[in-house]
């Protein structure tokens, strides 16, 4: 699979889905798309026809507010229909802002209350190890989410039990809801912190497909502990209109921004068709 093209498609449908609803968590949904493309396009052993196969790889979106880009990915992988994708946050929908395993096919773990997903992911990895399975559990946490003390409980636990079947991604897009992470409550360097907790950890450009691919290969080679891949990302990546907004965690666009976001969809559509982007 052409992973760059897959990432473009995820981005296109994430934007269509959010624009269709008219508001939502644009910034953090867009920053993790390259990771989703590599996981769902290449790395993960999954099959939409057998979503409950116990040998499958598991995915936990601990930063649950990025649900829209995960939904777009699940649509492109055949888990949900386009009609369902466009029902994001409608009354009575099966696609709530934050993923719910009891509502949406392909969601392994319900998330949204920050800090809990990573603990649940360690439980999934531990449980699969108990069963003697050789599958992986992938988990994405937000940089802001790592404010939550529970994350560090889970990280200490993952290292103690040498859960090498858990691969953790930190979406270090440098911003949380209220501003820059360094200004709200400086988290310091995540690589140093993860290493201090005993994890295998290194930094990559998380918006670069090849770097994400290489990082996962490196993580799988390490059987001594959990790997934490710290990803430098841009909040809103791939959509200039979103990237340039300082507070882009959740957007409720006015008419002018709506126009820009619709134009971004046209650009992404043209890009998907292989045409020169309209600028």
């Amino acid at each position: 699979m052409d992973l760059k093209k897959f990432a473009d498609e995820i981005r296109l449908y994430t934007m269509k889905e959010l624009n269709n609803r008219g508001f939502g968590h644009y910034g953090g949904s867009l920053s993790i798309i390259e990771t989703l493309a590599v996981l769902y396009g290449k790395e993960m052993n999954i099959d939409a026809a057998h979503p409950d196969n116990e040998n499958r790889d598991y995915f936990v979106l601990s930063k649950g507010h990025a649900g829209p880009s995960l939904y777009a990915t699940l649509f492109l992988k055949g888990y949900i229909s386009e009609e369902t994708l466009m029902s994001l946050n409608n009354n009575g929908t099966n696609l709530p802002s934050h993923p719910d395993k009891n509502l949406t096919k392909g969601i392994d773990v319900t998330t949204g209350s920050l800090g809990q997903g990573l603990s649940v992911a360690t439980g999934v990895a531990y449980g699969n190890k108990l069963k003697g399975l050789n599958n992986y559990t992938y988990c994405i946490v937000g940089d802001g989410e790592l404010n939550e003390g529970q994350c560090w409980e889970a990280i200490q636990f993952a290292n103690h039990h040498k859960l090498h079947n858990l691969i953790l991604f930190v979406d270090d897009n440098k911003k949380q809801l209220d501003g820059y992470t360094k200004d709200i409550n400086n988290p310091m360097d995540f690589v140093t912190k993860m290493q201090a907790f005993g994890l295998n950890s290194f930094r990559i450009n998380g918006n670069n497909i090849s770097e994400v691919e290489e990082a996962i290969t490196k993580a799988k080679e390490n059987e001594a502990s959990t790997t934490a891949i710290i990803m430098d990302t841009i909040k809103g990546y791939g959509v200039t209109a979103v990237e340039k907004i300082m507070n882009n965690h959740h957007l409720r666009p006015d008419c002018s921004l709506q126009f820009e976001l619709e134009r971004a969809v046209l650009e992404l559509e043209n890009k998907a068709k292989g045409q020169v982007p309209y600028r």
């Binding site: 809990q116 603990s119 649940v120 999934v124 449980g127």
Partner: protein
């Protein structure tokens, strides 16, 4: 007389022997709950996460996602008050199968005092949709309830003391009805659960000497309550409820909620009223919070007359 913690550990060992899906989680209280030896027989299925109740509860959710059946213990205030959002979201909202066990409930925390004395765990847990809540009073009943929770998918909270508990009745524990009428009477009912039942029985005996014959009913399943039973009891006469818990949100509160809508009755709720815990022996604390047989007799007499 067996210690309830021994029953807990023995029952888990039995279940774990026959079913690989059974896992047990502790947060550095395995010595207090007699589960430490389970490591020998259960190996990696015995998990002591350290002092991390929030992680303990969410991690159990992950084990449930992979088809395991987690038994998760901590002292009652920590599994409820401290890890409430984890219980609510990781387990309840996510519809995972897990059995939460909160020990050292209410005044049985004794010398650990106010920080460890849970007068609010029922109030917190009761508000969680579809959770089933039990409080245990005797060894066989504890075992029966653990087996039930193991074999029926859902989220459970079992409230228990840790130490020796006398067998109060030879009646079997009918899990379908969720209650036991330990003493039968015709002119009123005392409702309670767990540790304070012996006080209620003593009160009923003393009332009988005064020609007031009341039932003592153990509503060991606190949620969902058996509404039909409550209505039938209310038809007989006044009701006194006795909580080893705050009167806000405890069993008295739950019973009053049902009867105020279904069969308005004269009710007095005994329990902890706008107070925190403190150190003391259970006998001292019963007096402090008005939970003695004498208090129960006075409350019932006032309602009957």
């Amino acid at each position: 007389m067996s210690e309830l913690r021994q029953i807990y550990a023995e029952t888990i060992a039995e279940l774990a022997k026959k079913d690989d899906r059974v896992v047990v989680l502790e947060a550095d209280l395995s010595s207090s709950m007699a589960t430490a030896n389970l490591k020998e027989t259960m190996g990696e299925r015995y998990i002591n996460v350290g002092i991390m109740e929030a992680h303990e509860v969410s991690m159990a959710a992950g084990l449930s996602v992979t088809g395991h059946i987690p038994f998760v213990h901590s002292f009652a205030p920590f599994i409820s008050r401290r890890a409430f959002d984890q219980v609510f979201i990781s387990l309840a909202y996510s519809k995972n199968h897990a059995i939460l066990v909160g020990s050292d409930v209410g005044i049985t925390a004794e010398m650990n005092g106010g920080t460890h004395m849970s007068f609010e765990d029922l109030a917190l847990m009761r508000v969680i949709p579809n959770i089933t809540i039990y409080e245990v009073s005797d060894p066989q009943q504890f075992k029966d309830i653990l087996y039930h929770c193991y074999s029926h998918s859902g989220l459970y909270y079992i409230r228990t003391m840790r130490k020796k508990a006398p067998r109060l009745t030879d009646q079997i524990c009918d899990l379908k009805s969720g209650y036991r009428e330990i003493i039968k009477g015709s002119s009123g009912t005392i409702f309670s659960t767990g540790f304070l039942l012996p006080e209620c029985m003593k009160a009923a005996e003393n009332l009988a000497k005064k020609n007031i014959h009341v039932s003592v009913i153990e509503t060991f399943r606190i949620k969902p309550l058996n509404k039909e039973m409550l209505i039938e009891a209310a038809k007989k006469g006044p009701i006194v409820t006795v909580d080893n818990h705050s009167i806000t949100g405890g069993i008295g509160s739950a019973i009053a909620e049902v009867l105020s809508e279904e069969y308005p009755s004269k009710i007095k709720r005994l329990g902890v009223d706008e107070k925190f815990g403190q150190v003391g022996s259970t006998n001292f604390l019963k007096t402090q919070y008005g939970l003695t047989a004498k208090d129960i007799v006075l409350a019932m007499e006032k309602l009957v007359n």
